[in-house]
Amino acid sequence: MREVYLDYSATTPVKKEVLDAMLPYFTQEFGNPSSLYRKGRESRAALEKARKQVADLIGANDREIFFTSGGTESDNWAVKGVAFANKSKGNHIITTKIEHHALLHTCEYLEENGFEVTYLDVDKYGKIDLNDFENAIRDTTILVSIIFANNEIGTIQPIKEIGEITRKRGIIFHTDAVQALGNVDINVNEMNIDLLSMSAHKIYGPKGIGALYVNRKVKLPNFMHGGAQEYKRRAGTENVTGIIGFGKAAELAKESLHEHIKKVTDLRNYFIQSVMEKIDEVTLNGHPTDRLPGNINMTFAYVEGETILLYLDVHGISASSGSACSSSSFQASHVLQAIGIPLENALSSIRFTVGDFTTKEDLDYVVETLMVITDKYRSISPFYKKKG
């Protein structure tokens, strides 16, 4: 059976070059980078090289990159850190209704601890309104945290414009760029970003490693207390192989960014067009153009999403209902609700994300399978009335 993986936004395979870069550091050059002897220095050198590679992908200085255990830790660190450090200045945070759970649940935790959070609405394409945003700013606003590109519908926010406003108003600006990284041109300086969350396993690196960019002007208290690692900013023996893998993945991502964007955008558009042509009553969710190159989010009216996913799975196709973290409890996603999709449609929505190893033949196979699914299960749907 053909196997087609269309869930690159959930996680990516580790590229061969990335794994090759990591391998010597498991069994041979396994030294602790904090150690002074040769084995330790080898690890440290590799780690600092990786820091540079990651920094280069977002136009940062390498001393502004701190490795973490993933996007979630980066989000937790950034948002809790800024909040608690600036308590005396104010208790107001602005974010959006379509953040990843790593951010939303962190904000909820802060609300339980005396902070006030404004969750900005988004339009039907998933974009925030810059006027709404400016109006939401208060004297007590200490942090703005807005997702760079959404993980479910792929919509890209006007990050540069947001950064101009926050810089002008002197408010710290964090963005969760876990999905944007390697898929969008990012420059933290040009975009006035103060803090930016990254995760390696979304860009063909290993799982369990991420980073937080911290602009040198931002004072951020530590989240993980302990040893003096990461220039005393993030304790814990460094995940050396993970960091090296992240570095290599970042290097590859930078080298082929525009090629990657072009290739993946083409595949995405091919798929959308093909589905639209061949299947009735399908809608595309998210922004028509300002979306992640690889993201397709579609509603297949009248057929429940889990049914679609199961049928695809039986046919070797991996897709998802939105974010992987919630996929074991199929519920209408908060993102689809925020863009105003009716509940039944939200429950009939599927996310396909294409990536570097996707082919048009794969996509043809998926479209064929989707035709069978919609035919078969619409006919037994209590909502469906055949047209014509």
């Binding site: 429940e304 889990e306 039986v314 409890s329 199929f330 509940l343 039944e344 749907s381 909502f383």
Partner: protein, 147 residues
């Protein structure tokens, strides 16, 4: 397919559900669930002399909801109404060879859908069935089984 959430029998019923589709002029109809829960099940019955002559279902729901409907409808076809009312979600699960715990509610839904159809039939024909005692079609099985 190693490590499947579902066994082959569930998959088979999901892929080729029995008794799925429309029924013209049913004697009884029952719908349960709501899109909020992500599952809706509709049952149509042909009843003659207290016997379920034919049954069809429609489902907007996940794979196990469809598979549950498929076996549950098989199980009641040809049975008397009282017999059909005795079909429990446990039996549906057994017949399916097991369901993952988070999918047990789907089997409850098929049991409830059948009862709802018979409840409606009883109401219309002013009948009483032992097996309907205490049954409330507005009961939401999701309240019980979700965390």
């Amino acid at each position: 397919m190693g490590n499947n959430m579902f066994n082959d029998k569930v998959i088979e019923h999901f892929m080729n559900p029995h008794n799925a589709g429309e029924m013209e002029n049913p004697d009884a109809e029952g719908t349960i669930g709501s899109p909020v829960c992500g599952d809706i099940m509709q049952i149509f019955l042909k009843i003659e002399d207290n016997i379920i002559k034919d049954v069809k279902f429609k489902t907007f729901g996940c794979g196990s909801a469809i598979a549950s409907s498929s076996v549950a409808t098989d199980m009641i076809k040809g049975k008397t109404i009282e017999e059909a009312l005795k079909v429990t979600n446990k039996q549906v699960i057994e017949e399916l060879g097991g369901l993952p715990s988070q999918k047990v509610h789907c089997s409850v839904l098929s049991e409830q859908a059948i009862k709802t159809a018979i409840y409606n039939y009883a109401k219309e024909h002013n009948l009483e069935f032992e097996g309907l005692k205490g049954f409330d079609p507005n009961y939401d099985p999701h309240d019980h089984h979700d965390e």
